[in-house]
C-alpha cells in the first residue's frame, strides 16, 4: 500500500506544480503593472542593467500624480454611477418581466417571450449606430443618461429571472392568493424575496460587464470629464503612451477597486458571472 500512497503524493505534487506555474503566468502581468507603476521612467526603460524591482526607492507619488492630472475622482464617479443605474434598471425591469413570464398567464405571453430569446441571439453590434443616433438626437451625448441608455432593459436578465421564478413552488403563491393578496402583493412580498440569488447574480453580471465596456463610453462620452475608467484609459494612452510608469499607475488605479470587491465577494462574483453565463 505504501507504493500507492507515494504515487498519490507524486500526482498531487505534479498537480500543484502545474497550478503554480499557471498562477504565476496569470499574476505576472499584474505584478509587472504594479512594479512599473512604482518606478521612475528612467528605471522602467532601463534594459541593462535590467531592474525587476524599483532600485531608487518606491515611487508611490506616481499614483498621486496620475490621480490628480487625470481627474480619477471624476472617472471613478462616472463609472460608479453608470454601474449603479445600469444595475438598478436591469434588476428592476428584469425581475418584473421575469415574474410575469414565469408565473402569470396572459394572451401573447409566448410570443413576447420569443422576442426576448430572439434579442439574445442577435449580436449587440447591430444596435450601436442607431442607439448612438438616438442619444445624439436627444442631445444626451456626454451625459450619464447616454452612458446608461443601452442598459435600461435586459433581455438576458429577463430570461435569467424567468428561470428563477419558474423554479419556485406553486403552493406558496396559492396560499397567498387564498389570503386575498393581489398579484402585486404576491410579487412584492412573497415571490421577489425568494429570487434574491438570481437578482444578485444579474446585478454582479451587469456591473462587471458595464465596468468592462469600452466601445460605448468611447462613442457617447468623448469628454474626459464625462467618460468612464475604460474609455478614460484609452484617452490617456493616446496622449501619454510612452510614460510607462504613469500608464501602469493609471491601469492599476482602474482595476484595483473591482479586484478588491471581487476578492471580498468572490463566491458571489464567480457564481454570479458563471451562472449567468452558464444559462445564457
Amino acid at each position: 500500500m505504501e507504493g500507492y500512497a507515494a504515487k498519490q503524493r507524486n500526482i498531487k505534487i505534479v498537480m500543484h506544480v502545474v497550478l503554480i506555474i499557471m498562477s504565476f503566468i496569470m499574476l505576472v502581468p499584474f505584478a509587472w503593472m504594479i512594479l512599473t507603476a512604482l518606478k521612475t521612467n528612467q528605471e522602467a526603460i532601463s534594459v541593462s542593467p535590467f531592474y525587476i524591482l524599483p532600485h531608487s526607492g518606491w515611487h508611490w507619488e506616481n499614483f498621486g500624480k496620475v490621480w490628480q492630472s487625470y481627474n480619477f475622482i471624476t472617472l471613478y464617479k462616472n463609472t460608479l454611477l453608470m454601474i449603479f443605474w445600469r444595475v438598478v434598471c436591469a434588476v428592476l425591469t428584469a425581475t418584473m418581466a421575469g415574474y410575469a413570464f414565469g408565473r402569470l398567464k396572459f394572451p401573447g405571453r409566448n410570443f413576447l417571450f420569443s422576442l426576448i430569446l430572439v434579442q439574445m441571439m442577435i449580436p449587440a453590434q447591430i444596435f450601436i449606430i442607431p442607439q448612438y443616433l438616438m442619444v445624439s438626437k436627444l442631445g444626451m451625448l456626454n451625459s450619464m443618461f447616454g452612458l446608461v441608455f443601452p442598459g435600461l432593459v435586459t433581455a438576458f436578465g429577463t430570461y435569467l429571472l424567468k428561470t428563477g421564478y419558474e423554479g419556485l413552488p406553486k403552493d406558496l403563491e396559492e396560499a397567498a392568493m387564498i389570503d386575498g393578496c393581489n398579484v402585486g402583493q404576491r410579487f412584492l412580498f412573497i415571490m421577489m424575496p425568494l429570487t434574491q440569488s438570481s437578482m444578485v447574480s444579474l446585478g454582479i453580471f451587469t456591473a462587471v460587464f458595464a465596468f468592462k465596456d469600452l466601445m460605448w463610453p468611447m462613442i457617447v462620452c468623448t469628454n474626459a470629464d464625462t467618460t468612464t475608467l475604460s474609455a478614460g484609459l484609452a484617452k490617456m494612452q493616446g496622449q501619454y503612451g510612452s510614460e510607462y510608469p504613469t500608464m501602469m499607475a493609471a491601469a492599476t488605479l482602474a482595476v484595483l477597486p473591482m479586484i478588491v470587491i471581487y476578492v471580498i465577494f468572490q463566491k458571489q462574483f464567480v457564481e454570479g458571472i458563471a451562472t449567468s453565463g452558464g444559462k445564457l
Partner: protein, 295 residues
C-alpha cells in the same frame, strides 16, 4: 374559438402586461428598432455630419465586399478565434479537472485564474502592450530576444490571441467546474471497478458527460471571439504597421462608423458580421446533435 376570460384571468393578464411593459418597450426602442434601422442604413449613404441619409441601394455592399480590407479583417478575426477558442478551452478544462479534485488551496487558485474576468480589458491590454514592448518590455528582457511582438505582422495576431487566452481561461474554467460537478460520482466508481481510472476515465466518462458544457462554451466563445474589439483597439496604435493584419471586423466597423463618421458604410460592415455569425450559429446548431452526448 377561445373561451371568454374570467374576471380573475383578465385581472391577471392586466398585471402581466403591466409587468412586461417596461422591458418590451425598452426592447423595441433599444434593440428591435435599431436592428431594422441598421439594416436600412446599410442601404444608405451618410451625408456630411451624419445628416441626410440617401438611399443608394447596394452601393455600400459593393464597396464593402470588394475591398480586400474587409476580407482581411474578417480573416484576422477568424485567426484570433482560432487561437483564443481552442487554447482557452483546453487549458481551462485541464485546470478545471485539477481543481475539481481534492487539493489544497483550491479557492486560492480559482481566485487567481478568474482574476482577469473582473479587470477592464482596456487596462489588461495596456499592461500586455507594455510587456510586449520590443525595446523595454519584460518578455524580451527575460528571454533575451528582440521580437517585435505586436508590430511584426507575422506574429502580432498571435500575441493578441495570447492576451485573449489569458483573459478568458478563468471564465471557461469556472463553467467547466460547474459542468464537472454535475457528473455523478458513481459513474467513476463503476468505471474504476472496470479498471478505468485516470486518463481513461477522463476520455470515456468526463469528456462525453461534459460535452453539453463544452459545446456551450465553444459556442459562446466563438461568437465572443468574432466580436473582439477592445484588445485590438488598445494594443495596436494607429501607426502600427501590423494593424492591417490584426484589426478585427468590429474594429473596422468602429473606425468607419465612429472615427470616420460614415454610418452607412459602418452599418454594412455590421451586416456582414451579423450574417457571418448567423451562418456560424446555424452550422453549430447542426453540429450539436452529433457531438453532444445526451444521456
Amino acid at each position: 374559438m377561445k373561451q371568454k376570460m374570467t374576471v380573475a384571468e383578465k385581472r391577471e393578464a392586466r398585471w402581466g402586461y403591466l409587468f412586461v411593459a417596461p422591458t418590451m418597450i425598452g426592447l423595441i426602442v433599444l434593440n428591435f428598432y435599431p436592428f431594422f434601422n441598421t439594416i436600412y442604413q446599410s442601404f444608405c449613404k451618410t451625408g456630411d455630419f451624419g445628416r441626410g441619409n440617401k438611399f443608394v441601394g447596394l452601393v455600400n455592399y459593393q464597396a464593402v465586399l470588394t475591398k480586400s480590407e474587409t476580407w482581411q479583417a474578417l480573416w484576422n478575426t477568424i485567426k484570433y478565434a482560432i487561437i483564443e477558442v481552442p487554447l482557452g478551452i483546453v487549458i481551462a478544462l485541464l485546470l478545471a479537472v485539477l481543481l475539481n479534485k481534492k487539493i489544497a488551496g483550491k479557492s486560492v487558485y480559482r481566485t487567481i485564474f478568474f482574476l482577469p474576468m473582473v479587470c477592464a480589458p482596456a487596462a489588461v491590454a495596456m499592461v500586455w502592450k507594455w510587456l510586449y514592448n520590443t525595446q523595454f518590455g519584460l518578455l524580451n528582457n527575460i528571454f533575451g530576444t528582440k521580437i517585435a511582438w505586436i508590430s511584426d505582422p507575422k506574429i502580432a495576431w498571435i500575441s493578441i490571441g495570447i492576451i485573449g487566452v489569458w483573459s478568458i481561461i478563468g471564465y471557461n474554467m469556472v463553467l467547466f467546474i460547474g459542468g464537472l460537478q454535475e457528473i455523478p460520482g458513481d459513474y467513476y466508481e463503476a468505471a474504476s471497478i472496470d479498471g478505468a481510472t485516470g486518463i481513461r476515465a477522463f476520455f470515456h466518462i468526463t469528456l462525453p458527460l461534459l460535452s453539453p458544457t463544452t459545446f456551450f462554451i465553444v459556442q459562446t466563445r466563438i461568437i465572443g471571439a468574432l466580436t473582439i474589439f477592445d484588445l485590438m483597439f488598445m494594443v495596436m496604435d494607429k501607426t502600427n504597421v501590423a494593424l492591417p493584419k490584426v484589426q478585427s471586423i468590429v474594429y473596422l466597423f468602429y473606425q468607419y462608423a465612429f472615427t470616420n463618421g460614415d454610418k452607412g458604410y459602418g452599418a454594412t460592415i455590421v451586416m456582414v458580421l451579423v450574417i457571418f455569425i448567423m451562418i456560424i450559429t446555424f452550422i453549430l446548431q447542426k453540429l450539436e446533435k452529433r457531438v453532444v452526448y445526451h444521456n
